[in-house]
Amino acid sequence: MQNPRESRPVIAIVDDDPSVREGLHSLVRSAGWRAETFCSAQEFLARTRAEAPSCLILDLQLPDLSGLDLQKRLTAIDLEIPIVFLTGHGDIPASVQAMKAGAIEFLTKPVDEENLVRAIQEAIERDRRTRQKHAEIHDLQSRYDTLTAREREVMQQVISGLLNKQVAAEMNITEFTVKIHRGRVMRKMRADSLAGLVRMAESLGIRSHKR
């Protein structure tokens, strides 16, 4: 009913039980998303597709690597995929652990269609935001990459809250030179205020230079 378009989110399903896997596969597709199925965590990790899925529907009990282990593994390799956990039985400690680690939802089999669809939607939304954030940081980083070493140094002093005079004394240069560097940093980073610059630095993970 919908034309397959590359922009449609891909939902990955990892479950060792064929009944569950095939049921979810059909359900996800019937809701208009694309679906990929895997019968173990290892198989998922070994997937050949370059594009990361927007959502991972993950069975808690998998024969080789458990759902929680896979979640940890993905975090460790910075693969930030929103996860909807499925479990055969309401395992509270596992659900708490999963939610703390950033899971979208923790659903009990057999899953309620509405809950699942809502969870997938939420996951897709979070994925969209994550992707957006990643894109922004990527943009900032490329601007930051254009700064000279001196400019980066001035930027670090400035976001630490030092006055130009103090920066000059610190760097053993004139206040005038500080102002020139600072102006260039603001322009290259496209920052409209000091507060904006500080936020950008935070996003880039640049530490202030307090001693």
Binding site: S19, E22, G23, L24
Partner: protein, 697 residues
Amino acid sequence: METAKDITERQRVEEALSLNELQVHALLQLHEMADQPMQMIIDFALEKAIELTRSKVCYLAFVNADETVLTMHLWPKAQRAAELAPQINPLAEAGRWAEAVRQRQPVIANQDALPNCFETGAPDGVELMRHMDVPVFEGERIVAVAGVGNKETPYDENDVRQLMLLLLGMWRLVQRKQGEDRLRATADALRRSEAYLVEAQRLTHTGSWADDGTGRPLYWSEELYRIFGFDPQQGLPTRDQSLERIHQEDLDKFLHTFETAIRQKVDAELEYRIMLPDGSVKYVHTIGHPVLNADGELAELVGTTVDITARKRAEETLRRSQAYLAEAERLTHTGSFAGDSTTQPLYWSEELYRTFGFDPQQGLPTRDQPLERIHPEDRDSFLQAFSRVIDQRVDSEVEYRIVLPDGAIKWVHGIGHPVLNANGELVEVIGTTVDITERKHAEEERVRLHQLETDLEHINRVSIMGELTASIAHEVNQPLSGVVSNGSACLRWLAGDTPNIEEARETARRIVRDGRRAAEIIGRIRALTKRTAMPKGELDLNETIREILPLVGDEAKKKSVMIRTCFGNDVFPVLGDRVQLQQVVLNLVMNGIEAMNTIADRARELLITSRNTDPDQVEVTVEDSGTGLDPDASARIFDAFYTTKPAGMGMGLSICRSILQAHHGRLWATANQGPGTTFHFTLPKEQLEADAEPPRV
């Protein structure tokens, strides 16, 4: 004439002298015959009497003690050639020859012609012309009468004197002879009776004795020497020698008995043992009798001692065999009885009294008493069995119950046997009664135990199912989850303006498939939790094992255990109870999973294999990589109630083993080369198939 007269006178003197000489000679001869038999002495004396009195005949008659009967003997021998038997004549009827007895003095009858002299008592052909008779006195009594007759001249006083002298000499010898003979006869009789006594004592093992009342032997019979093992040649034993032979354990009893007898002057009687130098022991029975003198004082003790060893041994043997029989009856709870044809009891063994709870002291029970003890429901069959023996004269058996007065119930098995006489008539009924209460109880116990085993098996299955509840729920939930997802998807495919029928059909197909899968699992669970055992049937072991793997799948996943299977392709079919064998595998798998609970440094892997080992045997193994069994535990893991699990009942492996035994199989455990344990079980190949094979020629 003078001369003639003188000659006659001289002749007479010469004759007288020669007679005197003859007489003296005769008397001397007679005395020299003292050692000759009596008959010869009498013969000699009477021949001399004829000679000395110039007679032709002579006789001697003995007179009986009261002088009423005369027994006549006739001489000389020549005239006795006719072998005349002595003639017996009552004195009153005897002829004139007996006048000397009647007149108690010598009588001379010189008258001519005495034809009636032997009116009575005369031997035929003897005729007396004249005669002279002389009685022989012994004190006042006439013991004999002798007579001579037919002298050519008349008898005179001289003849009387001659005859009397001869007779007296003869009679003295005869008397002496008779005395000697009597003495000899008495001595012979005494000797004979002594010999008889010795023989009698020897035959009856009876010795006799006398002592002086202080235990000093005065006399011991030959047999007593033999009994006590003394040599008669050595003479009487001393008091100490005889006491030494008494068995030490019986000495006190012996001394006490004889002391009492001596002090109280009463008979002593006791049995005691004697011990011979060779160590052999004899039992003797002794009776002692005190002999008192005129003053009532104890003079001596006489008595008999009988060797009763043989009797004792026989008694002992009898008693022992009776005791053995009683013991055997007691041990086997077998009583025996005999009854007459009217079922009146004739004999009851001790054990039978015990079985029926009767007191042997009360004597034989009546006909009805045993019947009253028999359980009312069993009386008819008991009586029927008894009458079969009596009426049909055949052996008969019956099992019945006895109700004792305290209400206790015994089961007994009775056998009756008819005893028939030569005419085939029933004489007695004999039989045995075995108390089979214990056997009955054991039978009941066996049935109860079997039920208990079945119950335990069931409990074990249910408890495994309990342990697996989460796993099973998960296993059912999976297909249900598929059903729900497919159902939802199906609705979505059908919704909207352009329903996707193809996708919807596909989901519906999956719904059916998953629903069936859930139902199958529930069916298996229901079979496993059923109480009753299933009949054995032909089974594919691989399939049987595979069926239960889903039930433990989730449990294994949760415990991070990987279950792998390696089934042989051509595994023989076996004959068995599917549920019981699945129970065995479930137990082994669950144990394996549990054994790997604490393993963190290696993979938790459970491997199940199946293969044919023998031409007619299948082996299944369940191998874990867990902590392994310590040798101590491996000896006991199959015992009931042995468990290493805190919450375990300890019945699992014990039940598994008994299930396999009931399948003619075996269950055992071995340690792995690496870590962990392998449980093995074997089952025989189903034999029906082999039987169906045509015989090879």
